[in-house]
Symmetry: C2
């Protein structure tokens, strides 16, 4: 099952040429989930061949412009391009008001249904569960209400060991129970333990997306053992004062979060426009947590690679 | 006096790779005036080295997203970059509401004053007059309320013919009256007609910006004799039906507007995403009005060249 994230933008609020504000496209089993949608995300999708029409879920972390100002344009374009299938949107309650007022004055009535699911930053919440994935919010510590998102693959069924099943002539009607981990009791009363008959499926993987936040241990437990942790790293650690003041994280701190929470791999982003090149941010993070990568636009990262 | 326009975007609502929605930067005597501000305008300014900090006036024609969705991001960036001088914003009344709600939820209090001047599409109005320019709205015929804008240079003072002034020993205190066109009465009672003593200044030039509209003679008189007429030309004339349905203009019609209103030069833009190349649009317009150019992003056009 495909589980990968493509970076569409990773700059912070102040614009810088050729870097775009935050947006990521998550491909989970060939379905696209958009996380944040800064200004220009539509152009980035066209540039990197991410098909907007394939997005069925959008998650907005918070209402600072660099995380949502591309949304109304995207919703409008989907409408103009003839979308009819519903779209699920998750974000702070006021996001709906912001969208509605703009469609009101542009006299736009979407041809498709926009299903809105308000997030609540007061505590972690499961906001979506489907065949492939469970999505949970991460309450973060920013200047305004902000939630990150955890995407956890669903555990898939155990796999039958064909030779054993056939040797024991187990009827097909028992297969689904075996896949779910139950033991098999033969007609003669013999109990065959599930472990003998099946093998475990691949361990489910997890992507944790921590957008704008102060370094704060409150969310560490929730993101523990992520296969891929995206964490903002707006500043170098020599600008810790500025990070504290603006409720952001330094590259050093982001790497420390990865270390403390036992992440497999760290992806840093949300870079301040003051950094024309990003090597220093990467070096700083790698000095603490070697398996770190930069969230470079257009790059795709496999989760749990 | 510099009077030129740089195209920052000229696509219509549906996005297309590497073309941006409508925005233009007008340089009038080294002051920048922004006309419309589609999504991504900030990036376009960085790309074409148009300094956002030099903009003191922004004009929004109407509330379709491809004409204003870059505005909140731009206003926010000016704030983050330390702007303190006031900014004048002209646009439909609801634009203020759209901005206010977004700054409310992002908890942004601008460091500079945003002076808002609502436009009224019910008739032409002078909305700005300063040392250099008079700006007037053009009520257009679109699906929602929409105004274009006319930028008319102020007539500058007449120039003194130095030799004659000196020969007649006209006192300096009379100069400003002469520059304003008054005659000179010498101490002996002789009347010297102003024409003998001064020459007329360069004729003031005019830029007419007609964004989204049906071809409609109602605005022809107002834009008559423009040195440069920007007119939307969303479709080729073989899509007239679609133009009528969506309240847009064809390239043929835009050229006919230029012809009927005696424009010196025509600039066409707001191209539909269906046109991957723009030659056909240009050829069609030039077949009616030869002095036509495409509003290509990054190009600068001198008004009255």
């Amino acid at each position: 099952m495909k589980f990968e994230v493509t970076i569409l933008g990773s700059s912070s609020a102040t614009p810088i040429y050729n870097r775009n504000p935050t947006a990521q496209a998550l491909n989970i089993n060939e379905r696209l989930y958009l996380i944040d949608c800064g200004e220009g995300t539509q152009q980035q999708m066209l540039k990197f061949d991410v098909k907007a029409s394939r997005i069925d879920h959008i998650f907005i972390s918070h209402l600072h412009g660099d995380h949502y100002l591309g949304l109304v344009g995207l919703l409008s374009s989907l409408h103009l391009n003839g979308r009819v299938k519903p779209l699920k949107l998750f974000g702070p309650p006021a996001l709906k008001e912001i969208i509605d007022i703009q469609f009101k004055y542009s006299e736009t009535t979407l041809h498709y249904e926009l299903e809105f699911y308000p997030t609540d930053p007061s505590g972690p919440q499961i906001i979506l569960e489907n065949h492939d994935i469970i999505v949970e919010t991460i309450p973060l510590d920013h200047r305004i209400a902000c939630t990150g998102f955890i995407f956890k693959q669903k555990k898939t069924l155990r796999k039958l060991i064909k030779e054993k099943i056939e040797a024991l002539e187990i009827p097909v009607s028992f297969y689904s129970q075996l896949k779910r981990g139950l033991n098999y009791v033969a007609p003669d009363g013999t109990v065959y333990h599930n472990d003998e008959l099946t093998i475990d499926s691949v361990a489910p993987k997890m992507y944790a997306y921590c957008s704008d936040t102060l370094y704060n241990q409150q969310y560490f437990e929730q993101i523990a053992n992520a296969n891929l942790l995206y964490h903002e790293a707006t500043f170098l650690h020599n600008m810790l004062d500025r990070a504290l003041q603006t409720h952001h994280t330094t590259a050093w701190q982001a790497a420390d979060v990865a270390l403390q929470t036992n992440a497999q791999q760290l992806l840093i982003g949300h870079f301040s426009a003051r950094y024309k090149t990003l090597n220093e941010l990467l070096d700083e993070a790698r000095s603490v947590f070697p398996n770190t990568e930069l969230a470079i636009e257009g790059k795709t990262f496999t989760i749990g690679a």
